[in-house]
Point group: D2
Chain length 376, copies 4
């Protein structure tokens, strides 16, 4: 390990995503033989005091209150963007212009135009780029991809994917920024729908080529703050449903909602191929269910040494958690940088998801008419 090159990391934002990214940067080197040793150089946030406290707790050596300072620091080679979607484009483009490697939270941007600009910036930068669709790095999801890639399921005919949560079922839940279109871009669609779009495209190796969609907002007014009698309009979707077609001939069904009472983080996907099927539910993230040859579904505990990422961790049957998907992501990102490869999912993959989101919105606004996903 003595011949490892150290790379400095600067992270922007320290809320939910910042916390889990920090844990990944802090832990990755203890479990994987990395070609590059990440150094948690600097954390950026608006409030000097809060950022300092977060840095102390999460293990960052220094802080900045302006993200521009992070992008221009010489001790930073990697910029990790954990802010809300409306600032992704500006930060990423600046970081890429400065030759930094950039990993950016999803959805890549709040519009197709922003995402396109980011992809263009990436094309002309020496820095590498990655969009943080972490669910690709669930070992069970990566194993699912392997099954499809090896042809064990045959020709894929069906995809049915759902992302079900329930955290805003209560009509008294306040009008947080995620429920406002100007800040969040969309509602369940961009927040969690984006994940199942990427996951479906990743596992199948196919693109979604067209969709027919409808969206709904069940609770149209909410308190401005908890307990407040003043209310404001919810301007994003509470739920988005769409059916569509994939480039390889499969038909597919998608649903994203935050109103599925009793479902907490049920990212579920089921594939049916001519030779076999598989099913996954993130609420039981260490399990992949596989049917081959038409027989029953086998519950595979994805913790065997020959399963993706698993050998780095514990013996069989000793499961991983949510955070490890980020550790895997960063490990793959560092390896790609060291090898000069393009990380996956790239900004281009993020743009592709963005285009599906846009097609969903267009279809929903046009009587659910089948709408082709635009592609360059």
């Amino acid at each position: 390990m003595s011949d490892q090159t150290t790379v400095g990391v600067g992270m922007i934002g320290y809320a939910f995503m910042g916390r889990v990214h920090s844990q990944a940067w802090r832990s990755v080197g203890a479990f994987f033989d990395l070609p590059l040793a990440p150094r948690m150089a600097v954390l950026a946030g608006r409030s000097k005091e809060h950022t300092a406290a977060a840095a102390a707790r999460l293990g960052w050596a220094d802080t900045e209150t302006d993200w521009r300072e992070v992008v221009s620091r010489d001790d930073v080679q990697i910029v990790d963007i954990c802010t809300p979607g409306d600032s992704h484009a500006e930060i990423a483009i600046a970081a890429l212009a400065a030759g930094k490697h950039v990993i950016c939270e999803k959805p890549l941007a709040n519009s197709v135009a922003e995402a396109e600009a980011m992809v263009r910036a990436a094309a002309s930068s020496s820095g590498k780029n990655m969009v943080a669709f972490n669910y690709r790095r669930v070992p069970a999801v990566a194993l699912a991809r392997r099954y499809v890639e090896e042809g064990r399921l045959g020709e894929i005919r069906h995809v049915r994917a759902q992302y079900l949560q329930d955290w805003i079922v209560d009509a008294e839940f306040p009008l947080v920024w995620r429920l406002q279109k100007d800040k969040a871009g969309s509602g369940s669609l961009g927040d969690i729908g984006a994940h199942i779009i990427d996951t479906a495209q990743f596992i199948t190796g196919q693109n979604i080529v067209g969709v027919s969609a409808l969206t709904e907002t069940f609770v149209k007014e909410r308190p401005l703050s908890p307990g407040s009698s003043e209310t404001g309009p919810v301007t994003v979707d509470d739920a988005a449903l769409f059916i569509g077609r994939l480039s390889g001939g499969a038909v597919a069904s998608f649903e994203a909602t935050r109103f599925a009472t009793g479902r907490k983080n049920a990212l579920r996907i089921e594939l049916n191929g001519s030779l076999g099927s598989l099913a996954f539910d993130f609420e039981a993230m260490n399990e992949l269910w596989v049917s081959e040859g038409g027989s029953g579904f086998k519950r595979i505990l994805v913790t065997e040494p020959d399963h993706p990422y698993a050998a780095a961790w514990w013996p069989p049957g000793h499961g991983l958690g949510y955070e490890h998907t980020f550790t895997h992501e960063i490990k793959d990102f560092l390896e790609a940088i060291a090898q000069g490869d393009d990380p996956a999912p790239s900004f281009a993959d993020g743009l592709r998801v963005q285009r599906v989101l846009a097609a969903v919105e267009r279809s929903a606004a046009d009587s659910s008419r089948f709408t082709v996903v635009e592609d360059v």
Copy 2:
């Protein structure tokens, strides 16, 4: 029981549906206190020899080779139609005209026009009418309906229903009548999609008011017979997917396919309401999963004395099977007749399903555009 009136039953058809209906007629009296005692009077089929053999095996007292004879017999008060869909209308209308009570297999007919004619015939007959959507009589499904009816799930926001089978995944499976439009009307849509439409409407107590659909035929040519090198075109859908809206404000997703490798008879339905959720899969038909108040899903074994139909059978935990749904159906039919009530689901309910099927087909043919379900 000595004061029971006996009613004569005449059944048309003795294939799969005829076998299971016979078992229900034969068994129902041993488990339920019936107001009417069914007498298995006569079985009709085209071949004298085969019909006689079937009658002997299944317990019918007499046989006919022309269904018209059944309809005109004095010892027949109930006509049970177990033929393919293309003969339903003619038989049912004749039976109703003769004042018989009619129970008819689903889908009610092969077209909306036929179904409308059947409903008209029913309106002017002294006979009662029922369409055999047997899955309403799964105790777990009936219990699900009870939960919704009692308001325990609150306002229903989501329905997601699938009917997944895999029996024609093999491209060498021959071109049976169910894969030909002139005989079967449609493919998976009418055969199994009809069941989830009725089940969703039954449990929610809401109608599907509009749909956006796509259909697909994965294997377009099949051998005319097993092993034959001569092939013919598959003229029905292999799979049908649609999203839609219900009269009470819920959004819904439906999928019917015979290409879900590894799924054998997975009629699955999940509902999310403002107060709770439920989930059901016919492959585990004795279980209903219910979440209340946002907490986890409880696996209810629907075999308790206070569960629908269960007290008639065995002690808790001693499950029922597929055939019992028909026994329950016939018990309810006999009770409705004796009480002068209209049985449910009625021909009108069957027509409603037919109209949804028609809307699905129109939408699929019109770029998946949102299509209103016509209602009189």
Copy 3:
């Protein structure tokens, strides 16, 4: 079917077991090609009136109020004993002496001595004998046996079997006959423990050679009748636990209880072999879980045409219920009679179970000391 010989059946008792046996006699011919056609000739019970009502409802042609009359009737070739255990020996021995074929409910008797006498009577009779351990006829259990027999699990090392119910958890539940030693012989041990002993021996093909046991009575006094303030002592076990060794080298763990709150009829068995494992729970009776080669457990829906008994019924995925285990039992019994084979499980198998029960009781009374199962 015209060349079928008819055999007359006389059944003694018409409570829970009588009801389910009747359904089996009534149905078996409609689903299986039988070498013998059973005729439901006569039902015996103590009360003339109640027996007549039961016969009408369950489909028996005639009644008797003395079982001896049944045994001596010329139109009866098969005697089906559905009475409590304390009368099994007397009836069975008389029936066998009269040359009847006898099927007898389990446990075979209330003591080893009685069971031995029954086996002796069977040995000198021209009639065949069977003890009704119906769980052997669950398709999933029969498939489990096939897996072991074919060597797919390798050498069996572990058996863990439980039979969990909860119907007497309530201390106010009255002192029914099943809780009195003089009538029931033992408590959960003989009633449900007997089933898991037989099932384990059947699936493994091994005998239990020795046990170490403990029993417990949690509620020692109960009301004499529902709501009564008068109480009497519970004289049987509420729960029985034992570990032991099988003839093939496996170690095993057994538990029978009626105090497993929330478990309704959980007859569960898990086997671990050198090459694979299997698991079964009667609460999901259509499923067998199999692990081969150390990989995950596959959920097999035991409804495929090549699964035991399944071809006679419905298409794949259309499950069976509790009652069908009896239909299968009677089908196998009739076939054995017609072919001159010895039915299984025989009275000798029933005696073997009885000897294990006796060893359990001896061990429990002797500080749980390892106690060899006596064998002739």
Copy 4:
């Protein structure tokens, strides 16, 4: 956080347990508000080179090649013992004598005598002591304890606990130290049986008062090393089964084996009480199944803010993994030290487990006779 006192930690051993403990020490401060800030001061191992590499990778500031040096360092206040069981007593007693706080891996020792000496040393030390039964810190297990403690399950009648693994099913697996009595003390009994004993006692709040046991060694000779033709005797148990009684009146069944093909790390426990039941399986570690009032089992995803430990981590439905049980353990240990409380489980708890293990061995050696667990 600026007023946190820093405590230095010295860890002995850096194999499997050392790796997972390191991750916990490294991560705990980022998620919990700790009264003491752990400093990863020094790692001890026999090989200077290997220890240095491990320290670099796992994040320890310094290394020692003699554990005695760790115990005597002034910058070490906590000693974390991650070595095999045969060195626990010597290290722990020395550390306690030096006034250090000690956390020691399980089983506490290889004999009751050693464990007793450790408890005595703890009693006369100013240092706190803890034995690392990490499964108490699975949120679902801690929630299970809460259910029992709050009386929601009523009086506990049944415990059935199993720890099932399969990693030595292959007879060619070599004779590692864990299969040699002089090094490991016992086989599956002490390694994994100890965990279910502690977990059962923890959740129920009851002690095991007596046992009846049998043990078995299925593969009696193994290669000395992988692929070697030279073999040596396996001198420990491959499997241990016992039944017993708890201090509160429950009966219990335990089984530990490494021959349960297809089970990877199935630490399973089920409790039945007079009011309710619960079930847990570590292979699905984020789930607790609870039945109340006799109704079905509810699958609780133990990730809600009011569940044990969960608020420190991620939103509901974002599960934890194996390693987090150690993070929780260390958090509780640090809190107890800061508050001057006795951590749980203490060395005394470890001794109690040891005495159960000893009773199991005595019973197995004495014809499975019921053997009282000795208690001082």
